[in-house]
């Protein structure tokens, strides 16, 4: 095996060895060599459903081999740099430079420096304009593509939206135009969902805000017929345990709840369901081909799948074969008590009814109490509660409300529970995200956030409730980039040159270096954290995500009025996603 001597010097060498069950045969004859790059380490990358779908979809093409490369851990990075070994793919150990296309999946704002690190280790320039013929085409996609501007200039093109159909069109075009990058990019820009950053000119006003864009809009791409779209019948079994190490079926895309802070809920619309017949067949095939002991029924809000009860009945034969069925992302209202045994996670998000109405969570105090009772009587042993601090209009009364909800859980666990379940509270910091009704909001400042976290920490310590919270500085950086523009690319480069990588890992995150990078580039982070007026041109306004700006503004105004908006299943609210004619609810 190549690099055996290196593997013996790093922790978790199985991250790099390949040979996983159900992985592809890189020796297959092919015309396009594609490397799926994920800028996070193996355990995170191997949990990603998008990767599982696209990897197998590309390898099922007769003309393509798709290999993988993930962010190496610092120990391997150091060896590669010291010994001048180019970053290699997991399957064939081929240098990344030798591939036709490198496809990065970007799922989190704190992995932007990892992209640069992988490019550097591959021996490739950071900026697309510095890469020429003879070097791989470097493309991107994934959830962060709803506002790709901070990293846009590193890529030749970016797929905005769901990759399945768009990627197939791109590969077809690539074969036609292989060898002529300029012409390929010009033609690719005409494909729905394809954004070619070099073709977009951004104009700025003297106050630093954006005046406008010189290019037609980029339309988000999405799979029209989800039920008949590609879904793998096998999945790679990771060599070592991944964060989510189980089979997955995807029930539906989009979400009808309309929580006003949730980017995924809006950005993945329109709502499209897979049929239960197809799902149960996929589940059976996946368990047969992987041997997994658990299958997850994935979606943004699994309890909202209209035929969930019937689907669970159809999956009963799997349970008889010692397969656990997990339902992640259950809402408090109407959750399935029989799945409560073991660990359960609820996300009330806010501590008071008033604030839950502001964020349109659409759950009541009664719903929360009923869900807790059902969970504990069904033998839930570990209850996790997720909240956010810093939500628009929040007061200390709402923070006190978080404590009250957790204390209610504690009381009920004693009176209703069969044993003594553990209760864990986790709070994240609210981040205003593009394509949400709160996209114009400011982020809470450090002082206010730390005070709220300290207050909760003190109450929970006294009451022996486990409490964890997100680091403010990491959240702040995420907020800057999630609403950032392309001027931030130089900050990413500057921070990387100072040694910032693996920023989503607390042991590596260094806020000071980031502050220095902003300062050196003459960029004020506060500019990106401020509240923005409704009439300001936003960096992502050139993207049509099939959500009307007017609708988002209306929702924001309703939030401030404390008015909730009904679930789309009760009637169309006119968000704009039905314009494509694909919303299952319209």
């Amino acid at each position: 095996m190549i690099y055996t001597h290196i593997l013996k010097k790093v922790i978790k060498p199985a991250r790099y060895t390949g040979g996983e069950y159900n992985s592809c045969d890189p020796a297959k004859p092919h015309e396009i060599s594609f490397c799926f790059c994920f800028p996070e380490p193996y355990e995170v990358a191997m949990s990603n459903l998008g990767m599982k779908i696209l990897y197998h979809m590309l390898n099922d093409r007769p003309d393509t081999v798709c290999e993988r490369c993930f962010m190496p851990w610092p120990d391997l990075s150091e060896i590669l740099i010291r010994q001048d070994i180019p970053l290699f793919s997991i399957e064939s150990k081929k240098s990344l430079r030798e591939f036709d296309i490198l496809g990065f999946s970007i799922h989190h704002e704190l992995c932007y420096t990892n992209i640069l690190h992988m490019l550097r280790l591959a021996g490739l320039p950071f900026y697309a304009r510095e890469r020429g013929e003879g070097m791989p085409l470097v493309i991107a996609g994934g959830p962060c593509s709803v506002n790709p501007e901070p990293y846009a200039e590193f890529f030749d093109l970016i797929v905005v939206g769901e990759g399945e159909e768009c990627l197939n069109s791109l590969l077809g075009l690539y074969l036609e135009e292989k060898g002529d990058r300029k012409r390929f990019l010009e033609r690719a820009a005409a494909i729905e969902g394809v954004y070619v950053p070099s073709l977009l000119e951004v104009q700025y006003s003297s106050d630093g805000t954006i005046r406008g864009f010189l290019d037609p809009k980029v339309k988000k791409t999405f799979v029209r017929d989800l039920d008949n779209s590609y879904f793998p019948e096998r999945m790679i079994i990771p060599n070592i345990e991944a964060v989510h190490d189980r089979a997955v079926i995807e029930l539906f895309r989009g979400c009808s709840n309309g929580c006003r802070f949730c980017q995924a809920g809006f950005a993945t619309r329109p709502i499209r369901y897979r049929s239960k017949g197809k799902l149960s067949r996929q589940a059976a095939k996946l368990i047969e081909s992987t041997g997994y002991e658990e299958i997850s029924l994935s979606s943004l809000s699994t309890g909202d799948y209209p035929e969930l009860r019937d689907l669970l009945d159809e999956l009963k034969p799997l349970k008889e074969k010692w397969t656990n069925i997990s339902l992640p992302s259950l809402r408090l209202r109407g959750f399935y008590g029989e799945f409560a045994a073991g660990s359960l996670t609820f996300a009330p998000e806010a501590g008071t009814q008033r604030l839950r109405d502001v964020i349109n969570k659409n759950i009541t105090d009664e719903d929360i109490e009923a869900a807790f009772k059902e969970a504990f009587s069904a033998d839930c042993s570990n209850l996790k509660l997720y909240f956010m601090t810093g939500l628009p209009t929040e007061t200390m009364e709402d923070i006190e409300g978080i404590a009250q909800v957790a204390l209610l859980a504690k009381r009920l666990s004693r009176s209703e529970g069969k044993r003594s379940p553990s209760i864990t509270v986790s709070s994240s910091v609210f981040l205003p995200k593009p394509f949400t009704p709160f996209q114009w909001e400011a982020m809470d400042d450090r002082q206010a956030t730390l005070e709220k976290q300290a207050y909760l920490r003190q109450i929970f310590r006294k009451n022996r409730i486990k409490y964890s919270y997100h680091d403010y500085d990491m959240s702040r950086l995420e907020a800057i980039f999630s609403r950032g523009d392309r001027r931030l690319s130089e900050v990413i480069v500057a921070a990387y040159r100072k040694g910032c990588t693996l920023d989503s890992w607390t042991e590596f995150f260094d806020a000071k270096k980031w502050d220095e990078a902003f300062s050196e580039c003459g960029i004020d982070p506060g500019f990106y954290l401020r509240k923005r007026p409704f009439d300001e041109v936003l960096p992502w306004d050139f993207i049509d995500a099939h959500i009307s700006r007017k609708y988002l503004q209306r929702e924001c105004e309703r939030a401030y009025a404390g008015v909730t908006t009904r679930d789309c299943r009760l009637g169309c609210n006119g968000c704009g996603a039905s314009a494509g004619g694909c919303c299952a609810l319209c």
Partner: protein, 215 residues
């Protein structure tokens, strides 16, 4: 119940022990082999492995016992058609009870291929083996863990203590060899045979140990 010997070679040699167990249970499930599960809150397949060995070293003699009624031949055929490459079953035997190899393992025979070792057997058999303590401090004598050293066509074989009754890790032994033989660069190291301690205290090959409880 069935006990089988499997290899852990190539990329599979880098799979940690706990993950190797998962790979085996998943291969058994993929193969459609019926196996018994534990009772209780979180049932898991009843499989029992021989003791772990350091990561990155190949082995031809890992053992696993699984609670199944499937016959040895059928098991081998089905399992090998569905297992991870590098973790193939090499032989299987039906047993009446779990031989608990994890507890009985007493020694392991490693084959170490390196031309630098050829012709130095006498020297190796005479001297002592030492390593540096992990904290970089004093020298530690590990000779007690070396039960025998023999010549092989491509180097040496070393029988080292292995398991609960005393354990000398192969990587530590290689460190000791490197201290004594400056040009030592092993081309291949493989755990070739496992030995168990039977009730009388005698150390016997694992196959022989298992054969005492054949169904």
């Amino acid at each position: 119940m069935l006990t089988f010997r499997f290899q852990k070679v190539g990329a599979a040699a880098f799979i940690p022990h706990v993950n190797a167990m998962r790979h085996i249970t998943r291969a058994i499930r993929r193969a459609g082999i019926e196996a018994a599960y534990s009772q209780g809150f979180n049932p898991h397949m009843n499989v029992y492995l021989s003791p772990p060995m350091p990561l990155g070293f190949e082995s031809l003699c890992e053992y696993c016992t699984v609670d199944t009624k499937t016959g040895a031949e059928e098991f081998m055929r089905l399992y090998n058609a569905h297992c991870l490459k590098g973790m193939e079953c090499l032989e299987a035997a039906e047993v009446v009870a779990n031989p608990n190899i994890a507890a009985a393992a007493a020694a392991a025979l490693y084959e170490i291929e390196d031309p630098a070792l050829i012709g130095r057997l006498d020297e190796l058999q005479r001297g002592r083996f030492t390593v540096e303590e992990k904290d970089g401090g004093a020298e530690k004598d590990i000779t007690e863990g070396v039960l025998a050293i023999e010549r092989t066509p491509r180097g040496i074989s070393a029988l080292l203590k292995y398991g609960n009754m005393g354990n000398l890790r192969i990587d530590r032994f290689l460190e000791a060899l490197a201290r004594r033989i400056p040009d030592f660069k092993p081309q291949r190291v493989v755990k070739a045979r496992l030995y168990c301690c039977d009730g009388s205290g005698e150390i016997i090959p694992a196959q022989q140990y298992i054969s005492k409880i054949l169904r």
